[in-house]
Amino acid sequence: MNKERFGEIDVAETLVRLEGVAKSYRRGNQDIAVLDALNLNIERGDFLALMGPSGSGKSTLLNLVGGLDKPTRGSITVGDARLDQMSGGQLARWRAHHVGFVFQFYNLLGVLSAEKNVEVPLLLTKLSKAQRRKHVATALDVVGLADRARHKPSELSGGQAQRVAIARALVGDPDLLVCDEPTGDLDRSTADEILNLLQVLNRDHGKTIVMVTHDPKAAEAARQTLHLDKGKLVEAQGVAA
């Protein structure tokens, strides 16, 4: 699919397409609309930052793109998969192979070492033990943590833990990375390192990244930034292309 890029520069291919997406939650007997009639295209190879006030629906939107949740209305297409039409089980299988998640608080499994944490998504594949080990080593290498493979999450700094989480998101080689405030729990310089890493993944490894952030400096690392307010995309700024 991606091959055209080599011949013609910037033949944009849409990886994520949201059309007329609405999401509302039921609280008691009242529907609370979080997202409303939202349209969005994300091109393959993009690095998109999503900003907006708290409660504006950023995480909700990100969860829809990552297949963690289903829209109340509208269609969501990622690659050739119609996420809005999938069952829970189908979504789970789709997530296992097509998307990597990075969370604000890393969400590593406390009882497992770094390498075992990174290996977890591969348990859903048919890879042999040796193949899994190879993929894990490669992913840890990419995030620069090969020497911490045997450490437990409690023995890692916040930045290191987030690198492990990124390695876990990468290890299955998904096209799409979905990051909810990946630097929200980190200090400035550590956050910058993580943002650099994400840029490398986007630029050199061809990962399409959607990142929610409150931090304008983090948004600067992205290729473009979208603002969400009260469930609507209010403004789009192209930063780089």
Binding site: D69, G89, F103, N107, G110
Partner: protein
């Protein structure tokens, strides 16, 4: 799928040490249920085994037709003499039939550390009884002498009651009779009895008829011949039972009561343990909401999550069952007690029997508690919407 289940379960189990307190609730609760249940059932099993082991297939007990037990039966001497001559009855070396008419009465003896006296069976028999009940043998002292007011006591009765040593006096009828010997019968119900000479007892109790007649058959197959001869004889209104059948019937109701008690207590305690297990597993699931949601986000299905929570509950339950079963075995296996058999109004000494089958039953009960206790929390864990659960962090 197996790989998923294995991975999630291994992770759950490895996090148990950090949740020792709540996990211990399941283990201890189930250990208690299994321990008490196994102990009570072992008591019922021991009681029934004692009575069921009494008697031999090639012996028969004859009582008045319609009598449920020896106490309510009467066999007059003439009839006893007739039945001793019936076909199928074995003879001794002197050519005399091996059949003994016996008296069956109760007397009061105090238990160890108890004030109120208890009923003990007094069996009036003859020194020939050692040939008839060949499992019986004297372990101390000597046999009573014919016509003399002397007593030999069963070793089970001696263990459970005070004042039953050789040389002690025991109230039988018309005063106290000296104990001259101690016998054993391989752990069956006769060991809880005291035996005296029947003619001495006839005089002292002013009775003339026997309560029952026990006969040695030529072989087990002769039972039908013997029974047919007795029941078809118009002079006799007697019933014939194989000894083991009779003694088993004497233990049924009592054994069932003890077993029923065991199950009742197990159910009540089991309900308590079940709530403990539910509580523990809900807590276990709650503390891992984010972990489970993370796994689901990474693409793990809900089935592995359910199964892993169930497996964790099962592992804890089995651990509890092992502890409870081991304690029951250590403290109660072979533990001797005596109790009133309300079917015969007499004390029976017996030992608890913690058998493999009972331990397996304990395991099964533990697994059931573990499964049910794990199921609801597991389903809740699996049903939690992933996106919501992730927000919980």
């Amino acid at each position: 799928m197996i790989q998923q289940i294995y991975a999630v379960t291994a992770m759950n189990l490895r996090s148990i040490p950090s949740r020792l307190g709540t996990s211990a609730v399941i283990v201890i609760g189930i250990a208690g249920v299994v321990g008490v249940m196994v102990a009570l059932l072992a008591m019922g099993a021991g009681f029934q085994a004692t009575l069921a082991s009494t008697g031999e297939d090639d012996r028969a007990i004859v009582m008045r037709s319609g009598s449920l037990d020896e106490l309510s039966s009467v066999v007059i001497r003439e009839h006893a003499a007739i039945l001793a001559e019936a076909p199928g009855v074995a003879s001794n070396s002197a050519g005399e039939p091996l059949a003994i008419g016996e008296l069956f009465m109760l007397t009061n003896v105090a238990k160890h550390d108890a004030v109120e006296p208890n009923n003990v069976v007094v069996r009036g028999t003859t020194p020939q009884v050692l040939n008839l009940r060949h499992e019986a043998r004297l372990v101390e002292g000597r046999m009573f002498q014919p016509g003399v007011r002397e007593v030999v006591v069963g070793i089970g009765a001696q263990r459970q009651f005070s004042g039953l040593q050789i040389g002690d006096l025991v109230e039988v009828r018309e005063g106290a009779w000296p104990i001259v010997g101690v016998f054993e019968t391989g752990g069956d119900v006769h060991e809880s009895e005291i035996w005296v000479d029947r003619e001495a007892l006839v005089t002292a109790s002013r009775r003339s008829a026997w309560n029952s007649v026990t006969v040695q058959l030529e072989d087990a197959a002769s039972f039908t011949t013997f029974k047919d001869a007795i029941t078809s004889d118009p002079r006799l209104k007697l019933q014939v039972q194989r000894e083991p059948d009779y003694y088993a019937s004497r233990s049924e109701a009592m054994g069932q009561m003890i077993t029923g008690l065991g199950y009742t207590v197990a159910v009540i305690m089991g309900i308590g343990a079940l709530f403990g297990a539910l509580n523990t597993m809900y807590a276990a699931v709650a503390t891992r909401t984010v972990e489970i949601a993370t796994l689901r986000a990474l693409g793990f299905g809900s089935v592995p999550v359910v199964i892993s929570v169930l497996l964790e509950a099962l592992v804890l339950a089995l651990l509890g069952a092992l502890i409870g079963g081991a304690l029951a075995y250590l403290f109660f296996n072979g533990y001797s007690v005596s109790t009133l058999n309300f079917q015969t109004f007499s004390q029976v000494a017996f030992a608890f029997r913690v058998s493999g089958a009972l331990l397996v039953q304990g395991m099964i009960v533990a697994c059931l508690i573990g499964l049910v206790g794990g199921l609801f929390p597991a389903v809740r864990a699996a049903r939690m919407p992933v996106a919501d659960a992730l927000r919980a962090s």
